[in-house]
Symmetry: C2
Subunit: 352 residues, 2 copies
Amino acid sequence: MPRPTIADVARTAGVSKSAVSFALNNRPGVGSETRDRILQAARELGWTPNSKARALSVSKALAVGLVVARSPETLRSDPFFPSFIAGLETLLSDRGYSLLLHVVPDSAREEQVYRRLAAEGRADGVFVTDLRVEDPRPALLAELGMPAVIVGPALPEPFWPAVGVDDAPGIAAAVQHLVDLGHSRIAHVSGPLNMVHGRSRADAWATALAEAGFRDRRCVETDFSAESGVRATRELLKSQEPPTAIVYANDLMAMAGMSWAGAHGIRIPDDLSITGFEDTEIAAHLQPALTTVSTDVVSWGAAAATRLLALVDGAEPATLELPEAHLVVRDSTGPAPGASTTKAPARGRRRT
Amino acid sequence: MPRPTIADVARTAGVSKSAVSFALNNRPGVGSETRDRILQAARELGWTPNSKARALSVSKALAVGLVVARSPETLRSDPFFPSFIAGLETLLSDRGYSLLLHVVPDSAREEQVYRRLAAEGRADGVFVTDLRVEDPRPALLAELGMPAVIVGPALPEPFWPAVGVDDAPGIAAAVQHLVDLGHSRIAHVSGPLNMVHGRSRADAWATALAEAGFRDRRCVETDFSAESGVRATRELLKSQEPPTAIVYANDLMAMAGMSWAGAHGIRIPDDLSITGFEDTEIAAHLQPALTTVSTDVVSWGAAAATRLLALVDGAEPATLELPEAHLVVRDSTGPAPGASTTKAPARGRRRT
DNA sequence: TTGTACGCGTTATCAT
DNA sequence: ATGATAACGCGTACAA
């Protein structure tokens, strides 16, 4: 038995197709008695809209796309996407939208996928993540006429609508926390500086140090991987006057760095303080538990979905309030070696 | 300028719509010269099939669904999905299929989503993950007439087509490795035993121990989270005659357990050997580096996609060969305390 | 409220 | 065999 169509509903209710359509979409043009009869018939027959027909008719795909250009290995260790997608979900499903997810290995394929989504009319809009500093995608999507929401820290030029938790306050709080603990040589292990979220964290670190009046600003750039985190840590700690604190751009590298340091007789936090970024599940269960920056990725996803759906509707994108990144102080940070300071750690931060 | 349709192509080529359709689908019924003319016209106009129209007309969604029922927190720390999805991707995109991803918080919503995908005709088939021991989903999907591929370890009753890397050989190798190192009290920290992949690993561990002739089989069940891993570790190590080795059902718990042990003066691997499961990126960079079981999740995804597309086509599902789970020996396993054995660690395993 | 054209690719029918 | 005509899938929108 094939799925009932509105024609079936119309027949059983004894009205026309169009009356059914109006009734089902709660639009004026049908009397309330007939409307009831129609809804009744629809319920009896178990009618559900056929999304294929609907999509063709309204010229919308009723789906939005998320294209992720990363190698499986890089993706594996990044806890961002699952949470982010969970955040998208409620908004999308309430609106009858689906998420098309494409995982591609490189940015050449990425472009192909965007072009295909546009050409085949499969998506009404897309999310853009992992924005690079001079990224061709905004222009490409503009050319394709595809509504897009950039997911990430706010861009310097708010030409394109970017939705993201602002990393800066979290990093600033981490640096301030370390300063309060008496540290003065606070290095940074950054992500790729050609990616907006790598750059944004590095900038926040540099700014915070500058404001604290420190000149020693050593930053080692990595690709966010555990291995590069280890390399950076080794490089920093083997230098002359090694830092007494390292601010890492993600938890993975912080963890890897912490392990390396531990294996080389460097005690944490006695000899070296460490902060991460992300607050992954394991962070609280490490030894010592990792002080890190936490962002609410789920509500971030919800905000991104809200914005994209507004764009798709052609509505005014409302300003979105996102919870800021905040510092979670645990045990991997402590007083600077030799510092007598026992000033209380940063004000009002939670300890989880 | 709206996208060109086959009507436009037909006009410029001076033929009928149907001729165009035949030509574009490489089907007989058009002369080779006309065919060339048509293809030429299509190319010039930059014609691309409109997936909405195509979907309606062939009564296929040209999309398959993946519904994941997990809390964002659980999902965050699981590296499985991103890699798995990357594995699906190539197969799907080559066939012009998209992946619809839905992340829902609980299994009630999960059922709703499946029903909606079916009722609205949004998906031609679905992947089912995290199968529970008495899972209602196979029956539900059968009722809905929705082709489905179960993703996970092979089921005892191969009634439903399950595609998955077999966990057992990996766990068996881990146990054997520990036995070779002289351990006799080898405990297991398992995942939920009502989930097929939790159960399957626990069974493999029990079987391997039984084959080795050991009676001491302590297993603590967890929910795969870091916190429950710590709890289980504490419980095991505080018992009388604590185990000298623990086989964890995932890396996250192994890591958490390792941290807890380290913080309580238990040296790894001198006092306690530990193995994980998954080979997450950080595993190799821990201190000591984690001995774990690695599975090729990407090719697993490819296999699942192959099977589902075959089902959607109504084709015979071919038997799929998947690489087995294998042990990666690192530094978190060593000779049992007091054991003189210096037998070489398991044969032919790679050391990464 | 109803009839009907429309969106767009596919396919069955029919004429050449 | 080749190719044109028309109907189909299903919900929406506009004229009547």
